[in-house]
């Protein structure tokens, strides 16, 4: 374990002092030891990756560095000088900036207001705002971080929200920038763009710490990488001296299959037929502009696209709960029978009875009740199911047994059905949702962002289960912003843009580059011809 530690030349490369050095950091949350005696050295002017399973303690470590949490023990050195980081103010003054995994933005404030918050010039807002506007323009030009300074955060896409977080740090003239899973919500293009920015920052001499679950990104852009497992730092290596396989093994403690191992699909009769689906939301915005596609039994249709292009609305409608006040048109058939798209028959419970399972995009807001125990969450959404009910009462014994079994099968850790969902790490939360929906054996499974923020060990597992379900002859709609995921899981790939399906491809006959273009709204007509299947049910002309 300790072997890896000396691989890094940070301290011995005495030329420049390390930008950050952590010595013996420990942190416990009550009985949970999140960080145990951690050493870390980040040389100045480098990009340093940190990887580890869900719950390994990465975010905690970085939050300590940023003064968000106070360590129980240990020492922090910035530019070789020991400092006590009592709060984020100290960290900011020491030149540290952090982009949190869950953004710390005020949703109904404008971009500008968020940027100046805590870094105002004086007691009045106006001078601060106008100064920030100028600086923002400059930063935007310098790093291509364009955002509308007057837009409210809630009106921005996640990608843009992240830009705001980065701008916030830059505005505070951070020399050391910590990014906690920044690419989890970005499209490949956005991620690429982010990496160019990070490289630019590094070239200016800034230091960057990057937490990610994506080994490809580590290999692509970091100089050094540290691996955490169960609260401990298990290795720190030069990136060029390692490989994804080795990192994965360090992380998980066993060999991990990085690619999905699946047989070609054997699709049968169509299960879901969507025809000309349209939706206008309560604010009058057209979210879906005539979407049509089929999914057959035994196949996975991957739906790629930048988030915010109608996928959410599509999943909600198919899931039986279009947003309040929305107007929905078009036709959806399930096993040949039309599904109601509005009215009282259109609800999520009825959809489940019709054989539709749904892994929602946001596990914390929709998929789980965070304060419910794990076992209750296993019945969540299926509370009507006969096997969970005994006459008037719910059969809690049965639900518990079922939960224990599912947690066992899906290796949810810790395996304690009484623990509230909130107390599981993101990956394990996701496993609970996946277990619940897949084990129902639905004819059609809707999946939104199945592996967002999930570590590679868990991803491998979840992907395997999805493929198994397909092989059992079920139809699957997979919505993901991860092109890698889409390409490795899907049997067919459709790309959504601005409420339309831009085109359909076979995964082995397309490239991320081509899909990226479609995701950016470049229609088939403009795109370079590829060997795709001809688009059947799409209406690109509607976009005008």
């Amino acid at each position: 374990m300790a072997a890896g530690r000396d691989n890094l030349g940070g301290r011995s490369d005495a030329a420049a002092p390390a930008a950050i050095e952590l010595r013996g950091i420990s942190k416990a949350f009550g009985p949970v030891q999140a960080n145990r005696n951690i050493d870390l050295c980040v040389p100045k002017g480098t990009i340093h990756g940190i990887i580890g399973e869900n719950g390994a303690g990465k975010s905690t470590l970085m939050s300590i560095l940023y003064g968000f949490y106070k360590p129980d023990a240990g020492e922090i050195l910035v530019d070789g000088r020991p400092i006590t980081i009592a709060d984020s103010q100290t960290a900011i003054r020491a030149g540290i900036g952090m982009v949190f995994q869950h953004f710390k933005l005020v949703q109904n404030f404008t971009v500008l207001e968020n940027i100046i918050l805590g870094a105002e010039e004086g007691a009045m807002l106006r001078p601060s705002l106008s100064k920030a506007r100028g600086v923002l323009k400059q930063l935007a030009a310098e790093y291509q971080l364009n955002v509308d300074p007057d837009a409210t955060i809630e009106s921005l896409s996640v990608g843009h929200q992240q830009r705001v977080e980065i701008l916030k740090a830059l505005y505070r003239q951070a020399e050391i920038l910590i990014l906690d899973e920044p690419t989890g919500v970005l499209t490949p293009a956005e991620a690429d763009h982010l990496f160019r920015i990070l490289e630019g920052l590094r070239d200016e001499g800034k230091t960057i710490i990057l937490i990610t679950h994506k080994l490809r990104e580590i290999i692509e852009i970091t100089d050094n990488v540290s691996v955490m497992r169960r609260g401990e730092m298990v290795a720190s290596v030069r990136t060029r001296d390692t490989s994804p396989e080795e990192l994965a093994e360090l992380m998980v403690g066993r060999k991990v299959l990085l690619n999905v191992d699946k047989q070609p699909a054997r699709p049968r009769a169509p299960v879901l037929e969507v025809r000309d689906l349209r939706m206008v939301d309560d604010e009058g915005v057209e979210r879906l502009r005539g979407v049509s596609f089929d999914i057959r039994a035994g196949e996975i249709l991957g739906l790629a696209g930048v988030s915010g292009n109608g996928q959410t609305q599509l999943l909600e409608i198919l899931g039986g709960y279009p947003k309040k006040g929305a107007r929905v048109g078009g036709e959806v058939r399930m096993n040949g029978r039309p599904l109601p798209l509005s009215g009282s028959k259109c609800n999520a419970g009825q959809r489940r009875r019709d054989g539709i399972g749904h892994i929602p995009e946001d596990r914390q807001v929709e998929g789980l009740i965070m304060d419910f125990a794990a076992w209750e969450n296993v019945a969540f959404g299926w509370q009507d199911a006969p096997e969970f009910n005994k006459g008037w009462l719910m059969d809690n014994t049965a639900i518990r047994a079922d939960a224990a079994e599912k947690m066992e099968r899906f290796d949810v850790r810790p395996r304690d059905p009484n623990l509230a969902a909130r107390n599981f790490s993101g990956g394990n939360q996701q496993k609970i949702v996946v277990a619940r929906e897949i084990e129902r054996n639905p004819d059609l499974l809707l999946i939104g962002q199945p592996t967002r923020g999930v570590d590679i060990g868990a991803i491998e597992f979840i992907h395997k289960r999805i493929v198994e379900l397909r092989d059992a002859g079920k139809a699957i709609l997979l919505v993901s912003v991860e092109l890698d995921e889409i390409l490795s899981l899907s049997d067919r790939v459709a790309v959504m843009f601005d409420g339309c399906i831009m085109g359909e491809r076979l995964p082995d006959q397309t490239t991320t580059g081509e899909l990226g273009l479609l995701m950016a709204g470049v229609t088939d007509a403009d795109a370079p011809a590829t060997a795709g299947i001809p688009p059947e049910d799409q209406h690109p002309e509607e976009r005008a």
């Binding site: 009550g30 009985p31 489940r352 807001v365 998929g367 009740i369 969540f380 509370q383 719910m394 623990l419």
Partner: protein, 365 residues
């Protein structure tokens, strides 16, 4: 996983908080020049020292159980029902209308019918705020506050102009027919040959309240409806994803809540005064908020909190009756108990947790 053993969390913490509250109360009593010891013994003696004291303590507790449960059920759906006062008052009206207008030969028959009347009226009074919240987004806190006032006005009118017997000075209804009077706990004990709590208002409604605790517990934690109520209370988008209709659940939760508040009338109107008087609720609706919050919205906690408040009410009454300590002292003691056990509980819990954690660490190492 837990930071400290469960017993310490659910027993030790409140106990220490209670002691703290009592300590400060003692200081207050000293400050007004009275003896805390006398006050304490008077209260304990008066409320718990005799079957007589218990007869009152249980009577008050019964009221608070109903209003506490009412607040709790709504709270689980994340609805803050401040309207218990009005709903309980309307429940009283329901009881009075039923008992005065339907000839019922025996209390055993009158009881269920009156319960229906009480629950229906209470629920009806909660229905409008509920539907306005669910359909129009009108904030339930405002509407229930307003409905308390409206209920008071309505009752004032009905009692003075409709239900008041001719020539009576008292804005109160006529007495309910003799045969519908509920047996007091005294009578039940007498039936098995024990003299207990003579002339106290505690009546069989207490058992209904206990049953209500149990039923609410079953409802919230054992039924699908309870599951749906809790899910909606924790996350509306989650509930919608799970096929739960927020409008339906909001309305049902409030109907149950209002019904429970209304049922309180069985105790005070049917069981105690045996007629409907103005302001029969006497703030029990508001105390229900404190009881529910202190009981952590769990029926068992509510039962304990209601008993505690029953004790404070009766003990405080005795204090006012037999010492020169003003009755307002009790309000202060209630406030301190609520404050320390309900709002400042972390003041006790945090150090305790640290203590247990360090003990475990040293023990484990």
């Amino acid at each position: 996983m837990d930071k400290m053993p469960k017993w310490a969390d659910v027993i030790l913490t409140p106990l220490i908080s209670l002691v703290l509250a009592m300590g400060i109360s003692a200081l207050v009593i000293l400050a007004i020049g009275e003896s805390p010891w006398v006050a304490l013994t008077t209260m304990v003696e008066g409320a718990l020292g005799s079957s007589y004291g218990w007869g009152f303590t249980l009577y008050y507790a019964t009221n608070f159980i109903f209003t506490g449960l009412a607040v709790a059920v709504a709270y689980h759906a994340s609805l803050f029902n401040i309207g218990g006062e009005g709903q309980a008052a309307m429940g009283g009206l329901g009881v009075a209308l039923v008992l005065l207008n339907i000839p019922l030969p025996h209390w055993a028959l009158a009881l269920p019918v009156a319960m229906v009347g009480a629950a229906l009226f209470g629920a009806a009074w909660a229905f409008i705020p509920a539907i306005l919240q669910a359909k129009r987004g009108s904030h339930i806190v405002i509407t229930t506050i307003m409905f308390n006032f409206i209920a008071a006005a309505l009752l004032n009118y009905v009692l003075v102009n409709i239900l008041r017997p001719v020539g009576s000075m008292d804005p109160a209804s006529a007495r309910f027919p003799e045969q519908t009077n509920l047996p007091a706990l005294t009578d039940l004990f007498a039936a098995i040959g024990i003299e207990w709590g003579r002339n106290t208002p505690a009546n069989i409604t207490f058992f209904i309240a206990l049953a209500a605790c149990l039923l609410v517990w079953v409802l919230i934690w054992r039924t699908r409806l309870g599951f749906e109520i809790r899910a909606l209370g924790k996350s509306e988008p989650g509930a919608v994803y799970a096929g739960i209709n927020p409008v339906r659940i909001t309305v049902i939760a409030m109907l149950i809540s209002g019904g429970l508040a209304g049922l309180m009338a069985i105790n005070n109107v049917m069981g105690e005064s045996e007629r409907l008087v103005l302001n029969a609720v006497e703030g029990a609706g508001f105390i229900g908020i404190a009881v529910a919050l202190m009981g952590r919205n769990h029926p068992f906690g509510i039962l304990l909190a209601a008993l505690l408040f029953g004790f404070l009410y009766q003990g405080g009454g005795e204090l006012a009756l037999w010492t020169s300590i003003p009755r307002e002292l009790i309000v202060v003691i209630q406030a301190l108990v609520i404050l320390f056990t309900g709002a400042l509980d972390n003041m006790v819990r945090m150090p305790l947790e640290r203590l247990f954690l360090s003990r475990r660490r040293t023990g484990g190492a």
